[in-house]
Symmetry: C2
Subunit: 142 residues, 2 copies
């Protein structure tokens, strides 16, 4: 994994919110715009709300809205909010201790390399804002 589809889903939902910042959008309406199941929309936007990118209000006429200007929402934030596993994940649980020194040495080296690459990727994503994405995909304004 891996960048799963969660990242894409999150960005799609944010695009809907950014396209009309007049009021709150329900998960139902976001689902109509994207084809994503409402429960999934709620689950993913709840993660973004937990990181302060989105404001979620319950109850009648509730829904989701952007908490900030799209120019100040960075792709790296979105990525970190929805992806718990790193892009390059290496399972080291099976590196059998001292019996096999080679696997643990190699895995240790890989872990530091992957951490390095991860930083590189996140730096790259830190330079991309939601406003940039909106500009590139030329969202058909509703």
């Amino acid at each position: 994994m891996s960048a799963s589809t969660k990242l894409s889903t999150a960005v799609q939902a944010l695009c809907v919110l950014a396209a009309d910042r007049g009021g709150a959008h329900s998960s139902e309406s976001i689902s109509r715009a994207t084809g994503i199941h409402p429960s999934r929309v709620r689950g993913i936007l709840a993660m973004l709300a937990g990181e302060g990118m989105v404001v979620a209000t319950r109850g009648f006429s509730g829904g989701f809205a952007l908490a900030r200007d799209p120019r100040h929402i960075h792709l790296q934030e979105i990525y970190c909010a929805v992806e718990e596993r790193k892009a390059f994940h290496l399972d080291v649980t099976r590196a059998g201790g001292t019996q096999y020194p080679l696997p643990s040495r190699v895995n240790g080296w890989f872990l530091s390399l992957f951490a390095d690459i991860q930083v590189q990727i996140e730096d790259r994503m830190r330079d991309i804002t939601l406003a940039d994405i909106l500009r590139h995909i030329r969202l058909p304004q509703s």
Copy 2:
């Protein structure tokens, strides 16, 4: 996922081969050094043999041996040989055509971003050779 354990396994096996280039190493002996199942060793080294990094000889006193100097075996080659899926994979099969224009636009944008990142990662791996890895892990010479 995505850098699976296959990459680590491949590097471990190559380290064994590089540590003693005198003769061929059987999958059995590589298994003893790494704890990896012999069948798995064969499967992964067969991929590397297909890309010309390793020479595999069948029959009595057969086995695997490096085909080149470790200074000329690059991590990027190993990675491409064993990993069929890209690190950043995005499943776009579910982007439902014209009914939902937003998902396909966002996914298209992501695909190009991920392709870019993939190039960055592979460039990084192209600068690392098997000899570099051996130096860093200080392989206990047999």
